[in-house]
């Protein structure tokens, strides 16, 4: 007997009712048709996300090509056709796959059958993106084996709330095959209009959907094929059709990446250890043997491993837009026009993007999305002007793999990842790595600028005073109303207009650099003053602490436990005091402002006394040794030696902790002809030869960046200014500082040579 469709539905409802009455002790979920709107329009906020979901589906279906056609989309109500040549669907697949909410096919078969592609979709709701885009969806699909194609039309507006989703039926038609195989989605009645710019944006977005091939070569080694732009078997094309006129939208050429000022790369290896490096031909930075360690912890001294994230890679192309001169070096150079073009492109396409299992995870790295706080942090940095690093300066790509999807979970909206602990580690690693890379670039630019300046100055063979004089003369001469044509006789003395201009420009550079340095020194000086005040204040408390300790010791003489605790407190306090005393002494010496010949025994021993306990705590043995007597340097500030020795010590300590060895430090004082020599050696990790010159440059540091949310003070302490200041001190006395050959059993040796004091200076020191 033939029953009508309506009759059958009625019978099913009756059966459902009977069933429900049979098991009264159970309840079941049912689904309202309104869920479609939830999953489509409400879940996917952006057009481009919706389109990219559909492109991902094509990729998962082993397609070689996807064509996006925007037909008459210049007004609302246009049509978008997405046509792929993937494996298509038969009726069974259509029913159990496409038409089943949250279908589990991709979970059961995470790898595509033909190309072994790692499938992007997992949640089985990507198709509702079409609902986001337009109100009607037509699906035409055919498999290679099928004789005919299947056609389904879905009117999304039928899925109204208060209707059971089961009750909305969609008609399946068999039609002649349109293609050999594949699926075509026709989305009619587009909800928005699409301008050329918008289509371009979506297309760019879709082309960026796949991880760039220049990220890492690791993917190729995997048995599973991860999505990649290098994968020639998959391409996306885009057309715009208005009144039968077809226009092809093309992607932007990204070959300009090769002209970047620097390339940052980094990874967290399988053990959880983080590294990054900088390569720059322009700045002469070679990434080989130049890995910077990134520690998961907060401590600058110890490298800690990341617990959760393994096998993370990133690569970023770094541009500074207003300084074509930085690119000169040994690089290929870049013209101002090219740089301008990159800058324009950066307005819409810069940032650091995140790719998970080969697919882009929006919105990370979209313009305006500062997920690594790059823009926010830059405002804290005093060197932002010379070495700008905002999202606009970066074209970055971060790759994470997470085959099972356990670590980094996409949110259902396809926008963002769930901000779990692993995500926190990822952000931490990237922030630190970018900081470290920026610092490395900074020190190199300082270095090359200095070198350039030196060369320039040597070429000009006149100092700044002379330049100023020349400029003044030039002004005087023009004030006199004389024209300054290159009159033979005058030319030797007076600047021409061009020369004056050049001299002014040169002075401007010098001034600029000095301003930066002064700004930093001002911060440091301010810190110094506060520390001075602080230390002095602290000292006033000592007798009070000690007084109360004595009182308590007397009161608890019979209580062993209390006595033990108080004795320990007293010992610790003693150590605390010796620190305070040392700094107080240093500041007191500083206040004198009097230069005195310094016997290096005095400063080294004073320093040893203070630091011994700290060294012991860190398992570091300090030894000193002096060869010869009357090792007096030229008159200096005693406090300068505190800076020198403290700096050396903290560097050594870091190096020793990193090397994870039983530490030893050797300080040797001696004389060499008319020089007083101090050699400071340690058995830490050592300085690779290529860095031995650079450690004395401003902002060069091998310290792990402190991480996000640190105070400016902390940034300052690891700023890499320490050795630079030390070398400025030494050089100001006509001395030298350099990395020297360490003695047997040591890894690093920094050597200072200073002029020795004269006989008269020594005599005055000893008798008066």
């Amino acid at each position: 007997m033939v029953e009508t469709r309506e009759e059958l539905i009625r019978q099913r409802e009756a059966l459902d009712k009977q069933l429900a009455e049979l098991d009264k002790d159970k309840v079941r979920f049912s689904v309202d048709a309104g869920i479609i709107d939830r999953l489509g329009r409400e879940l996917m906020a952006k057009q481009e996300t919706a389109v990219s979901e559909l492109v991902k589906n094509a990729y998962d279906a082993d397609a070689n090509e996807v064509i996006l056609q925007f037909v008459n989309t210049d007004a609302v109500g246009g049509t978008l056709i997405i046509e792929d040549d993937g494996h298509g669907m038969d009726l069974e697949a259509l029913r159990k796959g496409f038409m089943r909410l949250s279908s589990t096919d991709k979970v059961h078969n995470p790898v595509s059958p033909k190309y072994g592609r790692k499938r992007a979709g997992r949640k089985g709701i990507g198709r509702f993106a079409t609902q986001r885009l337009g109100s009607r969806l037509t699906i035409i699909t055919q498999t290679e084996e099928s004789e005919t194609a299947l056609k389904v039309i879905i009117e999304w507006d039928d899925y109204q709330i208060d209707r059971d989703i089961n009750l909305v039926a969609n008609l399946v038609e068999e039609i002649p095959k349109q293609n050999m195989q594949g699926t075509t989605l026709i989305i009619d009645n587009l909800r928005e209009n699409w301008t050329t710019a918008e289509i371009q944006r979506v297309f760019r977005y879709v082309s960026d959907l796949l991880q760039p091939s220049y990220l890492s070569d690791r993917l190729k080694k995997s048995e599973v094929v991860f999505a990649s732009q290098e994968d020639n078997s998959f391409s996306v094309n885009c057309q715009r059709k208005i009144n039968e006129e077809v226009e092809t939208i093309s992607d932007i050429d990204k070959s300009f990446f090769e002209k970047a000022l620097a390339v940052f790369e980094g990874f967290v290896d399988m053990s959880g250890e983080g590294f990054c490096s900088v390569t720059s031909k322009s700045l002469g930075i070679d990434s080989l043997n130049n890995l910077i360690s990134i520690s998961a912890g907060k401590s600058r001294d110890k490298v800690e491993l990341y617990n959760l994230i393994k096998d993370v890679h990133f690569k970023a192309y770094y541009f500074i837009y207003n300084r074509p001169d930085y690119y000169e070096g040994q690089g290929i150079g870049i013209s101002s026009i090219e740089l301008k073009r990159v800058n324009d492109f950066a307005q819409t396409s810069s940032g650091v993007r995140l790719y998970r299992n080969g697919f882009r995870v929006p919105p990370f790295g979209d313009v305006g999305d500062d997920w690594l706080d790059i823009d926010e942090r830059v405002s804290m940095q005093s060197h932002a002007r010379r070495i700008p690093m905002t999202n606009k300066n970066l074209f970055g790509f971060v790759e994470i793999t997470d085959e099972k999807g356990h670590l980094f979970e996409e949110t259902s909206s396809r926008e963002g990842l769930i901000k779990n602990e692993a995500f926190g580690e990822l952000v931490d690693f990237l922030i630190k790595a970018f900081d470290a890379c920026r610092a490395r670039v900074e020190s190199s630019i300082g270095f090359t600028e200095k070198k350039k300046k030196r060369e320039k100055r040597q070429k000009a063979k006149r100092d700044q005073i002379e330049q100023l004089k020349g400029i003044k003369d030039f002004i005087d001469s023009t004030e006199d109303g004389q024209s300054n044509t290159t009159d033979g006789e005058e030319k030797g003395e007076r600047f021409s207009r061009e020369e004056a201009k050049a001299a002014l420009e040169e002075l401007e550079i010098v001034l600029d650099e000095q301003m930066d340095e002064i700004a930093m020194l001002r911060v440091l000086a301010g810190m110094g003053l506060s520390i001075g005040e602080f230390v002095h204040e602290i000292r006033q408390f000592s007798p009070a602490f000690e007084g109360d300790l004595l009182t308590m010791l007397a009161a608890y003489a019979a209580n062993d436990e209390m006595k033990q605790g108080l004795t320990r407190l007293s010992r610790n306090f003693e150590q605390f005091q010796s620190y305070a005393a040392y700094f107080d002494e240093t500041i007191r010496n500083n206040a004198k402002r009097e230069l005195r010949p310094i016997e290096i025994r005095d400063v080294v021993r004073g320093f040893e006394d203070i630091i011994r306990r700290n060294a012991l705590k860190n398992n570091i043995k300090i030894e000193s040794n002096f060869i010869g007597y009357d090792l007096y340097t030229c008159p200096m500030h005693a406090s300068e030696w505190s800076s020198i020795l403290f700096n050396f010590y903290s560097n050594s300590k870091k190096a020793i902790i990193k090397a994870d060895v039983s530490g030893k430090i050797l300080i040797v004082g001696s004389e060499d002809e008319d020089k007083i020599v101090l050699e400071f050696s340690d058995n830490g990790i050592g300085i690779p030869p290529e860095n031995s010159e650079r450690v004395f440059d401003a902002f060069f540091t091998t310290s792990t960046p402190a991480g996000r949310g640190v105070s400016q003070n902390e940034e300052l302490l690891g700023s890499g200014l320490g050795l630079k200041i030390i070398s400025d001190i030494i050089e100001s006395y006509g001395g030298e500082i350099f990395v020297s050959k360490p003695p047997e059993g040591y890894k690093t040796c920094i050597r200072i040579e200073l002029p020795e004091a004269t006989e008269e200076q020594i005599e005055k020191e000893q008798y008066v």
């Binding site: 000592s542 007798p543 000690e546 300790l549 004595l550 007191r588 007597y629 009357d630």
Partner: protein, 375 residues
Amino acid sequence: MSNRFLYIDDAAPDIRNATASGLSSSGFLIVTAEEPLAWDTRTSRILGNIAQIEGVILDWRLTEETNRTGVGVGGTVVKYSAEALAQHLRFLATEGEIKDIPIVLCSANQGFKEYYRRDSTGHNLFDEVFEKNDFAEHHEIVVRQLNCLAEAYKILQTEQELSLESIFANPTNIEIDVRLAGNISTFLGNMVPHELIGFLQKEIIKKPGILINEDILAARLGIDKDASDEWNTLLETVINPNLKYEGLLSDGWTRWWADGLIQWWKRDIHPTHPQLRAAKQRVKLIKEKTGVQGLVPAEKLKFCAESEFWTVCVATKKPLATSEGLRVQVTNEQPWQDEQYVSLFAILERINHDSYKLNPIEKERLANLKRMLKA
């Protein structure tokens, strides 16, 4: 013998009270802390309470808080120095208006002692100076010295029959240098306790000559006291009964009679002067004669050839033969005082180089010694 001291400090009440409490903790001293107050209030307060105190401890910089904040901790502006207050109390004592009491100076400021040594204006005002660290680090000694000072002031103001002998309590065999005796009798003729005590401190106790300290005593015996297990045995059973100083201030500062040592040696150990013998021989003789065996002869310092020790190097406190020491500058040297020396080793190694100045007459000798070393 719990003497009461008034402690005046411009630090916050919690700080000065804690310091005072620490000083009082052993129960041998009662210290009360007060803020400096304005001059008039302060002086009249001391005058009014003078019967209740046996001494005053002054903080070196009473004006520090005022200078920094414009007003003292207690709300009063302090404009006078510790020196001015001490001077005023000394003046009133000299005039006989108040009883004379010990006044000591202290400070938490680093390098305070060094600074104080260089600036001699206050030297006659204070009986002793302490770094506040000493209060805890050398608690027992500080308390002993403060009590000792208080007792000495009392004796000088209550004892009717003061004489050279009652001051020094010297054994009959020890004669006091006539020039020193002359000085002392002047003080006794017009007794101002703080003047006599200041003189004893500066010219007898703190400088070797008539009395010597433990370091020099050990050097003259040729003994390395730190390495000798029975050094204390020797002191208690043999040395102290014969030559320990028992006179005024001896409770706070332990000293021995220099002449007593030579006499005891000649009588009990060997008739020849000890200085003529090397340290090893001296120790051998002492062991033989006293039966105290746990004694180790002192070693020579680097660059030294002689072990006929008679003094110590001022920088290392290690035994030194006078012939090998280089003289250091001593202010206001009196004829009964010994020269003081520093070793070449200490000079070259810069040990405690801040604690002495080399006497310029040694300049040439030092230059020669250095030349010889280089050759």
